[in-house]
Assembly symmetry: C2
């Protein structure tokens, strides 16, 4: 059976490469799903649209107003406090944790997949996320996959093809596939260019550097 898949596409680097990776692996993908949860770096949603267009699929943007209202003010990404500079694994990056964000997005994606008869959903969490974000770790992904499988009566699988890859390995894979990484957006500050100094910018730069791939991103600093 051909796997039909609904990938989560944030507009960031990882999900951009994952989409190209799944298409390359033969998954039937008509639609990707993006989430608007009131993130201040809203430019990533526009980038998700561009990436989907480039790869020939439609983007379904799901608002999460109810969830956004509940968590508003809890996290630097949704308006509470400044985005911390520094390295992604620093203690200060914990300010960018959004409570239950991945579980919420995965459940919404699973509900859409059930309606459309799609038999898997996919998320681009990777090894570099594990330190800071509990809902990116293998033990979470494993349990959540089981929960979604059972809640859907065995109809929907959760895929996380990059779970144990580093970001530089993702960049290398993206380069190999010709994924439109230049369209992706990482910076949490949401300015006109990538700031170059926040945790995700530092991580993005490092990943291209380690992979030995030319980084076409324009950085402020």
């Amino acid at each position: 059976m051909t796997p039909t898949t609904l990938p989560l596409l944030s507009g960031g680097l990882d999900s951009c490469v994952m989409l190209a990776h799944l298409l390359d692996a033969g998954h039937v993908i008509r639609t990707a799903i993006a989430f608007d949860y009131g993130q201040s770096h809203r430019i990533e949603l526009r980038r998700a649209t561009l990436i989907a267009e480039r790869l020939g699929i439609t983007l379904y943007t799901q608002r999460l107003d109810d969830y956004g209202a509940m968590i508003h003010g809890e996290c630097a990404l949704t308006g509470h406090g400044a985005i911390p500079d520094g390295h992604y694994t620093d203690e200060t990056m914990k300010k960018t944790i959004v409570p239950m964000r991945n579980p919420m997005m995965l459940i919404m994606a699973a509900a859409l997949a059930m309606q459309r008869g799609i038999n898997s959903i996919a998320i681009a969490v990777h090894a570099g996320d594990h330190t800071i974000y509990p809902d990116c770790r293998p033990e979470f992904i494993g349990a959540m996959g089981q929960a979604i499988y059972h809640a859907s009566d065995g109809r929907i699988a959760l895929l996380a093809p990059f779970l144990n890859m580093t970001k530089s390995e993702i960049v290398a894979r993206g380069h190999q596939l010709g994924a439109p990484m230049h369209l992706s957006w990482s910076c949490y500050k949401g300015g006109k260019k990538h700031c170059g100094t926040c945790g995700t910018c530092v991580e993005r730069r490092e990943a291209f550097n380690l992979a030995g791939i030319n980084d076409e991103t324009e950085y402020e600093a």
Copy 2:
């Protein structure tokens, strides 16, 4: 450590008894959470308010407009087709499955619990739900509990104290505790009185009957 708990309170019989059960067991409960997902039997939300008042706690009603819009039309409970009469375990009752309903409610409850520093959430699924609803079964509850535990970095446990009890055992427990079962609402049709013929009404009547407890519910038929 005293367990602080956020119970899901639908206004139905099971969650009414669970709330009394948890209070009796010494859980610290300030608030219960109810969900407005566009269910046509909206009277249950008013009943949830009455039950919470009676037991001395506040009710937090969380709208699920985004989720409700996504699933609208998929299920008899949210406006698509007539509520089927008959027994709860009949094939026709599958029309009352709401895709990913329990996962969605549990994730929202877990997000609220994280914000308030509450260390567990509780849901009143029971053995009678297992046949029809995949997201009420032990394998789902087990996996979802693990997923919530990991996503919250070990801060939140999922409790399901009635998971292996029958509805008549729940009625017996409610009677023993003096739970305000007469305030609870089961009927999916959402009229002024319980219809007496839909699957949940049949199940409610049977439960009181099997438990040998006087049923104060007024039924139409």
